[in-house]
């Protein structure tokens, strides 16, 4: 009898080329995504060593971190950004790597375009020089972010060297109530576990809530695994996963697809498999969430007051500094806080489902005058869907504009920066000091909470808009 294995074990063990004694495993990487910011130095260093790209067909490049979200047809004005984009074009051209640069109809945020084109598949190992690579875990892949030295390793050897992580399972049973989105589920989990509580672990999400979630929702959840310190997160593939993949442009077809589905069906945690730690939550405890501090663990149900430092798990030493940065006080309600900016987008919430949710609230209403809203689709494919489904018209009629795809205000490397001291309700993944621009104050929330803020100009419980 073979021993019981978790989903993570099955995928990991299938990719170990060699185990080093008292050291890491040499792990084969099926898919490697690169973008303009974390790859140039890797190519340069590789060339200085006289090495070559081993499997160019396993690496896929897109430009996203640094790209403007308006006038993408014009030359990029920022010289340094333009330089990174041209380095990506040059490097991928030289080594025969697929490149969806700015203006390409497939261009978009790396963690949006991978899944929507069938590059991301269950059972794979997937890495990228971006910590939110964990997104792809939604398909039952082992996916995680790496540093530039590791990008160079993958380019030159298709492998990286990492120690196998410990295993955590997060089970949420029951049904979430109306107005509670996948973003709220993951913000709830991070608030429970803290911003560092899953460091050293790989997380599997299991239970009814995740089984009932759409693929987009699963991606939102897995995306933010890194925000509790986890190496990555994954969800067992099921019929929903296979249906999502089938027919995608670069996905396997016909008999190849059928054969893989048979294999993918085996990718579930066996009965009796051991986890180093397990948390079980009840879906009915989850409300729409919002963050009040400067790490993603500092989140609360939108109707609750800002907690006292003694009531939070983590970061007590920095709690006052954090609230001071945000201009908030213990005991205050988040509801009614003024909002200057709203950002809908990023690899966390820049997919079609997120725009549908946002539109459901702003439909027939008007954008608040005091709010500047950046609505940024995750890819051109999402942008096209927004237009095809009539969401675009709803947004325009409500006084919003739609920008062009990219990471945008998620990390504010381009011009989409929230000014110092201003408040943003953001559907992205990080509320760190200055993340959305020097001095910017970020409140992370779901697309529904963002929409409610966008039409009222203040933090608002979106449930008042649901009928």
């Amino acid at each position: 009898m073979s021993e019981s294995k978790s989903l993570f074990d099955k995928v990991w063990d299938a990719h170990v080329v060699k185990s080093i004694e008292d050291g890491p495993d040499v792990l084969f990487i099926d898919r490697h995504f690169i973008h303009e910011v974390t790859s140039p130095v890797a190519f340069l260093s590789m060339e200085q060593r006289g090495l070559n790209v081993l499997h160019p067909n396993r690496t896929f490049a897109t430009a996203d971190h640094n790209t403007p979200t308006i006038n993408q047809h014009l030359p990029v004005a920022d010289a340094l950004s333009a330089n990174q984009l041209s380095a990506l074009e040059k490097n991928t051209g030289k080594y025969g790597i697929s490149h969806w640069g700015l203006g390409h109809y497939k261009n978009g945020i790396v963690h949006v375009v991978g899944p929507e084109n069938g590059i991301t598949l269950p059972g794979m190992t997937i890495v990228c020089g971006d910590s939110h690579t964990s997104t792809h875990g939604a398909f039952g892949a082992i996916a995680f972010g790496i540093g530039t030295s590791e990008v160079e390793m993958v380019l030159t050897s298709q492998c990286i060297m990492q120690q196998k992580a410990k295993k955590m399972r997060i089970v949420i049973n029951g049904k979430v109530s109306e107005g509670v989105l996948p973003k709220d589920v993951i913000l709830y989990v991070i608030a429970k576990i803290s911003a560092s509580g899953a460091t050293g672990y790989f997380v599997e999400y299991a239970g009814e809530v995740f089984e009932n979630m759409s693929m987009e929702g699963r991606m939102t959840v897995c995306n933010m695994s890194i925000e509790m310190g986890a190496r990555g997160g994954m969800i067992a593939p099921d019929q929903k996963t296979f249906d999502y993949i089938q027919g995608k442009e670069l996905a396997p077809k016909g008999a190849d697809f059928d054969r893989l589905v048979e294999y993918w069906k085996t990718l579930k945690t066996d009965e009796g498999a051991q986890f180093d730690i397990e948390y079980v939550y009840d879906a009915s405890d989850i409300e729409p969430m919002i963050t009040y501090g400067t790490n993603p663990g500092m989140g609360i149900a939108i109707s609750k007051p800002i907690p006292r430092p003694d009531d939070v798990l983590d970061g007590k030493a920095s709690y006052a500094k954090s609230l001071d940065y945000m201009g908030f006080n213990v005991g205050e309600s988040m509801i009614g806080k003024k909002v200057d900016y709203v950002f809908l987008g990023s690899c966390t919430n820049g997919r079609i489902e997120d725009f549908r949710q946002f539109a459901s609230v702003v439909k027939g209403r008007k954008k608040a005058d005091n709010v500047i809203a950046w609505l940024v689709p995750g890819s051109h494919v999402v942008e096209d869907q927004i237009k095809a489904e009539g969401i675009y018209d709803i947004l325009i009629n409500a006084g919003f504009e739609l920008r062009q795809p990219g990471c945008s205000a998620c990390l504010a490397m381009n011009d989409d920066k929230v000014p110092a001291g201003k408040y943003a309700v953001s559907t992205s993944n990080r509320n760190f000091e200055g993340r959305q621009g020097p001095g910017a104050r970020t409140m992370l929330a779901s697309p529904l909470v963002a929409a409610a803020a966008a039409v009222t100009g203040e933090v608002t419980d979106p449930r008042i808009f649901l009928n």
Partner: protein
Amino acid sequence: MAYDKFTVLKSSAVPLPIENVDTDQIIPARFLKATERKGFGDNLFRDWRYNNDDSPKEDFVLNNDKYSGKILVAGKNFGSGSSREHAAWAIYDYGFRCVVSSFFADIFRNNCLNIGILPVQVSGEFLNSIFEAIEADPTTELEIDLNTQKITLLVTGQSEGFAINGYKKNNMLNGYDDIDFLQSLKEEIGVYAETSPY
């Protein structure tokens, strides 16, 4: 050889007793636009270190002449957030060779080891003793011996062991990196690639 060997480091240290320091603080995104690994130390902790008009913030520790050395001592959960290796480059480029904390974020720890910075994880109590000793005397020295995996607060003689896996330790002691090693496995990797279903 990608970086200098690391054996024993004896140095004073710079204290940063803040928890959850994320890589956006270590190096903000707007400084990631380079295509070469150069000059990142200038922007280490940029927004904590400088005002908007580029004048130094007097109260930030890197602007205080009292503190110096090759060791950065930081609060719990150092290096969380973005995977940007630029954060480790900035720390190295500024002149640090070792970061001491009671807890490190995973990707950051890997990035450090890959470029020749030694992350030393100590207990919360030991971390506090270090902070107290530096506060009492900013020139107080720490000794970090990679061979014996021991960190010592020289003024009190207090010491603690730290963990590092044997493979990475050997790399650091010799200044090797994983890229060299992986090149030596080309054949095994080729055999594996043949069996891949993707």
